[in-house]
């Protein structure tokens, strides 16, 4: 008996030692197409080539689960392949990273195409490079290299117009208050806010109860610095969140809250309440991303939203938006090690972005990214304004910084508890950034 137990214990111990220090999510095999200099034809098969018997898996978040329904149906019809959408529960990015860490890879997935999130999924090991993709040349020049690139290699295909941080405002409230022109820079916006406040209208609505949106104000306030290379300096450790630019942005935001320009229930208010307040005209403005538009049309029909809600980008010195692509904006193809599957995954992308693109954006009622494909009729003005601001937009922290620290969490802490000072928020953000950068092996951390 005793011998048996010793045997089991020894076997188990050896097994663990052998398995102990290998990461199942990150094999050593090189990704397809990185080392063999494959020709473009091999790399990018004909979008409608026959794929009978091939089954592709596509991971999506709850918010993007039905996004690709039209291209999937058309692709299945054209090629004979089957595409299975697997919905990963929210928080999506965490769920995907955890699965990938255990060695579970899909063929395709919606993925935030920012450098920080491409780093987080270890793109150079887990994703297929998409260099030479046939549709890139057909895209609007200013959108071609906007995002999806890490260390000069393209890993994600932008499929819809990426989100932009800016100000959503209630047109009726502006009109009633006699505001005929949207502000031309941040200070003008604050002046308008003070006027509105005097008239008894809540100027800004913030949703610190749900926390994630609180970082937009800080990032919008950093837009000038971002244009001036802030994120490059942050990435090398040359500048820190605790230095003047970062600290001033947080402090300005805090001062505006203390001044009483925000909704009274700022600490507990939610994203949903933000949308409701803006629609109802209970608040005049909200700094948000495209997700707010989705929330608004979920509460009222698109026509009402188009009539009531407007959008303008804002930055300290002008009207520059801050772009932040999210997972629903882009697709990534995984390096699964199976060449046929990998080629089929690339073919799906080429199909979606190639012959099927017009049908796709018509189905989604969204702005076209390609010069030769017109934006479908009926795309709301708000979305067109958001898209128009992309051209001269600056990159967000998520897009440009090598790591994505929990800025939103610390800012929310400051708003909710009053315990954290702007200095504490900057310090906590910098510490977290350094921790993530160090884990990535970034020089200087």
């Amino acid at each position: 008996m005793k011998k048996l137990w010793q045997g089991i214990a020894a076997t188990a111990a050896v097994g663990m030692l052998v398995a102990g220090c290998s990461d199942p999510g990150t094999g050593d095999e090189p990704a397809a197409g990185t080392d063999d200099g494959a020709t473009t034809d091999e790399q990018w098969p004909d979008p409608t080539a026959d794929l009978s018997g091939v089954t592709l898996s596509l991971w999506a978040a709850q918010s993007s689960a039905t996004l690709a329904d039209q291209p999937i149906a058309a692709f299945e019809e054209a090629t004979g392949a089957t595409v299975e959408v697997v919905t990963i529960p929210d928080p999506y990015e965490q769920g995907v990273q955890t699965r990938v860490a255990t060695g579970d890879l899909p063929d395709l997935a919606f993925w935030q195409p920012t450098s920080s999130m491409l780093t987080a999924i270890n793109a150079s090991t887990n994703l297929q490079p998409l260099d030479g993709a046939p549709w890139i040349e057909e895209m609007d020049p200013e959108l071609q290299d906007l995002t999806g690139i890490l260390d000069d290699t393209r890993y994600a295909a932008l499929i819809t117009s990426p989100a932009v941080m800016g100000v959503y405002y209630n047109k009726d409230v502006f009109e009633e208050a006699g505001i005929t022109e949207t502000p031309g820079d941040f200070d003008e916006m604050v002046e308008i806010a003070r006027d509105l406040d005097e008239q008894g209208t809540t100027p800004f609505f913030e949703m610190a109860g749900d926390r994630w949106g609180t970082q937009w104000w800080v990032q919008v306030l950093l837009a000038d610095a971002a244009a001036d290379g802030l994120w490059d300096r942050i990435n090398t450790g040359e500048e820190q969140f605790t230095d003047e630019a970062g600290l001033t942005a947080i402090q300005t935001y805090k001062d505006l809250i203390d001044e009483g320009l925000f909704n009274e229930d700022i600490a507990t208010a939610t994203f949903e309440e933000q949308g409701d307040a803006l629609l109802a005209g209970d608040a005049a403005m909200a700094v948000q991303i495209n997700a707010l538009y989705g929330q608004l049309v979920a509460k009222a029909d698109a026509e009402t939203v188009d009539e009531t809600i407007g959008f303008f980008p804002i930055s300290p010195s002008g009207n520059v938006g801050t772009s932040i692509p999210d997972q629903a904006n882009a697709l990534a193809a995984f390096a699964t090690g199976d060449e046929a599957q990998e080629a089929a995954a690339r073919q799906f992308m080429a199909f979606l972005m190639g012959p099927n693109y017009g049908d796709f954006i018509a189905d989604q009622q969204t702005v076209s990214l390609k010069g030769d494909v017109p934006t479908p009729d009926g795309v709301p003005q708000v979305l067109q304004d958001v898209h128009a601001s992309l051209g001269d937009s600056v990159g967000s922290m998520q897009s440009e910084a090598v790591a994505n620290p929990d800025l939103y969490l610390y800012v929310s802490d400051m708003i909710q508890g009053g315990q954290m000072t702007p200095e504490d928020v900057a310090t906590a953000t910098q510490d977290h950034f350094a921790q993530l950068a160090q884990a990535q092996g970034v020089d200087g951390f």
């Binding site: 008996m1 220090c21 990461d23 050593d28 987080a120 270890n122 909710q416 508890g417 993530l436």
Partner: protein, 289 residues
């Protein structure tokens, strides 16, 4: 003993194999990976010694979360046992309405913890049902943010946790009450002891085994708490309800697998350090029986 055993000892093997695979192996990995730089960003895993522990301790967030977790566990243990014992005493007699009530109070135990959390989150928000009810009674608008205080929200979530699990404590206390010999209670009555005296000096001490089980499971179970708090506050406001498990979940989700593993190792050690003295002290009370 040897000749009287009813089953061969090899029958234990399946249970131990399951334990080994699903409990001991992950626990041992927990020890191994805590000393590496395992992350989602890199393919290799290298040993880094105590670096993870040093950086976690120096940043202070780990200790804050550990403190929050301890406060939460103690509050849950107190509330859950007070509610459970109170219900058991109220519903002790086997009447029809009591049997029905016991079932009702046991329902939250079998409910999904996340569902419970989301329901309470909806009830307690400023525009939620509780405030609407209060507004109705006080005839003025009540907009208290029940989950918005950095001091009291932890008490509120501990109450929710205790509410969910009080039915289980009640059941165990009821079983404990049933085991008390009727003769002892009759003797006390004959001696003129009041109901309170009987409870304080006879019934409660005789409940010691039930107290041991209930306190230990409530305290140690809520040290590992996650679901209810995640659903109600997500760790907020201002991190005042960020249990260690929520912190671990957040860290793991950012791809810092080694750091998350280190934290869960710390939690494991903390639970173990707490478990032994608590269980031993409670068992000591049973020795008089």
């Amino acid at each position: 003993m040897g000749n009287r055993q009813t089953h061969p000892r090899t029958f234990l093997i399946p249970a131990f194999v399951v334990m080994g695979i699903f409990f001991f192996t992950p626990t041992i990995y927990n020890f191994v990976y805590a000393f590496t730089d395992w992350s989602s960003f890199k393919a290799e895993i290298n040993p880094v010694g105590l670096a993870n522990f040093e950086s976690l301790l120096s940043s202070g967030t780990l200790l804050t979360s550990l403190r929050v977790t301890l406060v939460y566990a103690v509050l849950v243990a107190i509330f859950q046992n007070l509610f459970g014992l109170g219900l058991a005493l109220l519903l002790e007699r086997d009447t029809r309405i009591n049997r029905f009530s016991r079932v009702m109070f046991f329902i939250p135990v079998v409910m999904s913890a996340l569902a419970v959390g989301y329901i309470f989150q909806a009830l307690l928000k400023p525009a939620g049902a509780l405030n609407q009810l209060l507004s109705l009674f006080t005839a003025e608008p009540v907009t208290t943010a029940w989950l918005g205080s950095t001091t009291w929200t932890i008490v509120v979530v501990a109450l929710i946790h205790a509410w969910k699990w009080m039915g289980l404590s009640m059941l165990i206390y009821l079983a404990g009450l049933k085991t008390i010999n009727e003769d002892v209670l009759e003797a006390a009555r004959l001696d003129g002891a009041s109901a309170w005296q009987t409870f304080r000096t006879i019934r409660f001490p005789l409940l010691a085994p039930a107290v041991t089980f209930n306190v230990a499971t409530a305290l140690l179970g809520s040290m590992n708490g996650f679901d209810i708090v995640q659903a109600t506050t997500g760790g907020g406001p201002a991190g005042s309800t960020e249990l260690l498990n929520i912190f671990i979940y957040r860290t793991f989700g950012q791809g810092l697998f080694a750091q998350a593993t280190t934290m869960s190792l710390v939690l494991f050690v903390a639970v173990a350090l707490l478990a032994f003295p608590v269980v031993r002290t409670l068992r000591k009370r049973e020795e008089v029986l």
